[in-house]
């Protein structure tokens, strides 16, 4: 299942693009896949198997925290956004 993943400018330094494609049946698998394509990716958003609490992931604009966390199932055509906190003002 090819899923579209949108990242913010900070993560773009790792992926080289704003929107990338990944594979996986769940969000967790998708992130592992992205890490093999873009080394260092997972490190920016996870530690010890769980998401940093200042990073939110949205499946089609719904926070996965209120779905099934990293076990949230994804399918072809879904859109994932990875959103770390920004503090700049």
């Amino acid at each position: 299942m090819a899923v579209e993943v949108k990242v913010t400018s900070v993560l773009q330094k790792i992926t080289g693009a704003k929107v990338v494609q990944g594979e996986g049946g769940t969000v967790g698998e998708l992130l592992a896949d992205l890490d093999t394509r873009y080394p260092g990716f997972k490190q920016q958003i996870m530690q010890d198997g769980s998401l940093h609490r200042f990073v939110n992931i949205y499946l089609n604009d719904e926070d996965i925290r209120y779905l099934n966390q990293l076990d949230t199932r994804v399918k072809d055509g879904d859109s994932i956004s990875i959103l770390p906190a920004l503090a700049g003002g």
Partner: protein, 396 residues
């Protein structure tokens, strides 16, 4: 039994501009308690610090005043309408609300100055007066604070507070429209005041030339109706969020970095910054504008949206951004929204709060992880190095 409760205009800042809300209860007292549960702070607006409905507030059930019925015990049925009507404008607990500015009829000069507002049906002379009676505190006179302050000054906000203890620096002038070349070296709050009053001498500007801390936040924020966040660090964001929650002030939040922006509105009791980001990143994990940069014009876009949102709350117009996080991607020129909501597990505004007073935010943001400082320092360092390697290989 669901009843409809009419919310008077001065109280609508608590209910996201809703004119009517649904509530449950067998009688008026229970319904008011239910509205307070849904929109914390409502009880205080109606009752002040007392136990009985004060003389300047009338409550009607189906257009009949409750003193001619059974007072606060008046029984209700499905479909009844309860209306809360302050007998005088701006009625709120007098021992806790600061003296509100009241504006009489607009002068000829004001009618001219604000004519482009007044001719719009959503504003009119009454709406312009509400703007002129409102008070807004802006945290930071920097990238976001600048366009916020300028547009609120132009709109005629009655009182603008500016919190900033820094001085104007040459590198600020790439984006901070409150300050100009001749202001370099001047305290930013003073430079802000001068710019605001050069635009509009009618605006009362209060400068708070101090860092906002747990010791002064409640004292500073209590005198304003709304707070807009233009802070540039996580500690200040969590502090302002918590203080606004405790004081029941709507908070218009915005943040920027590189080519991205995020904006939302937090209404007391309906989600807060901690619901969205329960813990801050360890130091070094998320770069600051000084480290990563920001497109100057981006500050204008995001800050102006923040100013727009506070004006909408004051006017009771349109739909506020509360419950939605607006994401701005300037490179793609794309706006998106994601849903945000109150987290029942939130330590501040959830069902079982554990944060009941302001904490030491610098210490908390400095050691955000369960790991030892050494581990977190290494993690942040490794993450930063990975970003730099990736960027370098792309530029090679």
């Amino acid at each position: 039994m669901p009843v409809s409760v009419y919310i008077p205009t001065p109280f609508r800042k608590l209910t996201g501009n809703r004119q009517h809300v649904e509530a449950s209860g067998a009688n008026v007292a229970e319904v008011l308690a239910d509205v307070d549960r849904q929109y914390p702070g409502f009880r205080q607006l109606v009752f002040g610090s007392g136990e009985t409905v004060p003389a300047h507030i009338n409550i009607y059930v189906n257009k009949q005043e409750i003193t001619s019925l059974n007072g606060i015990e008046t029984a209700l049925q499905d479909g009844d309408e309860v209306a809360v009507i302050p007998a005088m404008a701006g009625g709120s607990g007098e021992d806790e609300a600061p003296k509100r500015k009241t504006v009489g009829a607009l002068t000829a000069e004001q009618v001219n100055r604000y004519s482009r507002h007044i001719i719009m049906p959503q504003v009119g002379p009454a709406g312009q007066r509400k703007i002129m009676e409102a008070s807004v505190l802006i945290i930071g006179a920097g990238g976001l604070g600048s366009p916020i302050a300028v547009y609120l000054a132009l709109a005629g906000i009655g009182k603008i507070g500016i919190v900033d203890f820094d001085v104007v620096d040459l590198s600020n002038l790439q984006r901070q429209i409150l300050h100009q070349n001749d202001d370099i070296g001047k305290p930013k709050a003073i430079s802000a005041k001068e710019t605001i009053n050069a635009y509009n001498p009618d605006v009362e500007v209060v400068v708070h030339e101090v860092p906002i801390t747990s010791d002064n936040a409640l004292e500073i924020i209590k005198d304003y109706d709304y707070v807009i966040n233009g802070a540039d660090n996580f500690a200040a964001r969590y502090l302002v969020n918590d203080a606004c929650y405790f004081l029941k002030k709507p908070l218009i939040d915005g943040s920027i970095l590189l080519f991205d922006g995020q904006v939302t509105v937090y209404l007391p009791g309906q989600g807060c910054y901690r619901c969205l980001y329960p813990s801050p990143p360890p130091p070094g994990m998320v770069p600051s504008c000084a480290e990563a940069g920001v497109l100057g014009a981006l500050c204008g876009t995001v800050g102006t949206i923040q100013a727009t949102e506070v004006l909408k709350l004051i006017l009771g117009a349109g739909e506020s951004l509360h419950g939605r996080l607006l994401l701005y991607d300037a490179l793609a020129m794309e706006f998106r929204q994601v849903r945000i909501r109150r987290d029942p597990n939130c330590v501040l505004c959830g069902d079982n709060p554990t944060v009941t007073e302001l904490i030491d935010y610098d210490a908390w943001c400095g050691g955000a992880f369960d790991h030892t400082n050494e581990e977190e320092r290494k993690a942040a360092e490794a993450a930063r190095e990975a970003r730099e390697r990736a960027a370098a290989s792309m530029n090679a």
